[in-house]
């Protein structure tokens, strides 16, 4: 199997799953609607009571909302894989003379595109309600890089979940704890305000350094060690999730 075929096959299969998205735009809307609602709730209801110092609250909480958007977006990635497996399309591709990895990579690329669109929608709403940043192009590239890395890690988790799920609900259930994770982090309130045990958890889970990094980039502050921690967490999640997905993939043909 030549490398050009592998790339060509991935492009063809990505075109196919992109059609699934363009023909059900509601998945993009549903992905964005929960984080947007959350954002409005926090900014207009709770935000006034939370002391974030000199940082505008909408700027403060946007990183957490963006991570939530990705977490709810990858639930659809998992669902698309599950539907392919359930409907037999997956096996049809597996029995064809195509690079087998392209079937999974097509879903990865589709997931990236879908999440980028959802993130753009959420960001646009944030701008409407007052989000402003003087971040440099370089800082924005850093923000995009971290978000893409985070999306990739969660996407591979979604692929493993979709491949091993027995039911449709099971396929997306893995995303719920991920959607919830930003609440017990530095995303919405400073961790110092939390009880000791909760604070210990909040400060040692991946969302906190990722949120801190994104926030520092938005506010043009030094990123510090959080930057390395964030990248390390994202890469760690990616490596582990990728291994889990491949294990789930191999179990299918055992």
């Amino acid at each position: 199997m030549s490398a050009t075929h592998a790339i060509g096959d991935t492009v063809v299969l990505t075109g196919r799953s992109m059609r699934h998205i363009t023909r059900s735009v509601d998945t993009i809307i549903t992905t964005a609607i929960m984080p947007v609602a959350m954002m409005l709730l926090f900014v207009y209801v709770f935000g006034g009571a939370i002391d974030t110092g000199s940082v505008a609250y909408v700027n403060y909480m946007l990183p957490g909302i963006l991570l939530m958007t990705v977490a709810s977006g990858v639930a659809y990635t998992s669902l698309r894989i599950f539907n392919d497996v359930q409907g037999g399309v997956f096996e049809r591709f597996q029995s064809m003379p195509i690079a087998r990895s392209s079937v999974l990579w097509a879903h990865v690329l589709t997931s990236l595109v879908a999440n980028v669109i959802s993130l753009a929608v959420v960001l646009a709403v944030a701008v409407v309600i007052g989000f402003r940043s003087g971040a440099s192009v370089l800082a924005w590239l850093g923000i995009a890089g971290v978000l893409v890395l985070f999306t990739l890690g969660l996407t591979w988790l979604a692929i493993g979940a979709g491949l091993s799920a027995k039911t449709m609900e099971g396929a997306s259930a893995f995303a719920y704890p991920l959607i919830f994770l930003p609440f017990i982090s530095s995303a919405f309130v400073p961790t110092e305000t939390m009880p000791t045990v909760v604070q210990a958890f909040a400060e040692h889970q991946p969302v906190t350094p990722i949120v801190n990094t994104l926030r520092a980039l938005i506010e043009q502050q030094p990123v510090g060690t959080d930057g390395w921690l964030a990248v390390a967490w994202c890469l760690g999640i990616l490596v582990v999730a990728h291994a889990l997905a491949l294990a789930a993939y191999r179990r299918r043909s055992a």
Partner: protein, 255 residues
């Protein structure tokens, strides 16, 4: 590549799911260009055998080769030589019929995917439905599209797992006609079925899979000879395949 005219060769194939021994030493040879029907009741292991032959599942023991390529060691070569129509139609519901066909044509790296799709839509009587989402198709249309997708690229060996289950008589006759046409073009067809009539109508040879083994393998005439002669005296008509099937299975269970 062996020089024989054997397209599919299965020897001593075994497969268990945990405790359940589904295949317990299957032997089967299918000649190039022939139609062989694999007959077996529910749960006999027909799908399991087809999935091993189409490189989707690994066997526990024994060997299997397609067009001379080992299904385990030369899986990529096997996939170049086959196409699989699984037991349940594997079509993309969100795409149109034409897009489904074009997708497969592109994945098989054929030059003119659009023309390939249009030809097959015409051949399978789907021209009108071609631009519609498959989600709106009837069971028979879905199955026809599914089979059409499997023929793209003209692979020399085609596996059809219960191709007519759930189809009305009209759709069934259409599928039968396409299978016959395939064999006429020299394609080797291995199809599984629970319908004895289907095996009788279509197949050059019939293999019966029962309790993990091929317990009978031959032409319809061969199998009719297996029918206990004592019974023949009491029936005026020729024994049907159904009677032969039940007689053979009955004999197996006693022994």
């Amino acid at each position: 590549m062996t020089a024989t005219a054997t397209a599919i060769r299965v020897e001593g194939l075994e497969k268990s799911y945990d405790e359940l021994a589904v295949l317990r030493g299957v032997d089967l040879h299918v000649e190039q260009g022939s139609i062989v029907a694999l007959l077996g009741s529910n749960g006999a292991g027909k799908t399991t055998l087809v999935r091993i032959l189409s490189t989707l599942l690994r066997a526990d023991a024994g060997t299997a080769s397609v067009q001379g390529y080992d299904v385990a060691a030369q899986a990529a070569d096997v996939r170049e030589s086959i196409s699989l129509t699984g037991q349940f139609a594997a079509v993309d519901e969100i795409l149109t019929g034409r897009e489904n066909l074009m997708l497969v044509a592109r994945l098989r790296h054929l030059p003119d995917a659009g023309r390939v799709a249009d030809d097959l839509l015409a051949r399978f009587d789907l021209v009108e439905a071609g631009a519609r989402k498959v989600a709106t198709y009837s069971g028979g249309m879905r199955r026809r599209l599914d089979i059409a997708m499997s023929l793209i690229g003209e692979p020399p060996v085609v596996f059809l797992d219960e191709p007519t289950t759930g189809l009305d008589p009209q759709a069934r006759t259409e599928v039968w006609a396409s299978v016959k046409e395939l064999a006429a073009r020299g394609t080797t067809v291995l199809l599984t079925t629970q319908y004895l009539e289907e095996a009788e109508r279509l197949a050059d040879r019939i293999a019966i899979l029962h309790e993990g083994r091929i317990i009978a393998d031959g032409t319809l005439a061969d199998l009719k000879q297996l029918f206990p002669p004592a019974h023949v005296e009491y029936v005026e008509k020729q024994p049907t395949l159904e009677e032969i099937f039940l007689a053979i299975i009955g004999a197996e269970q006693k022994s």
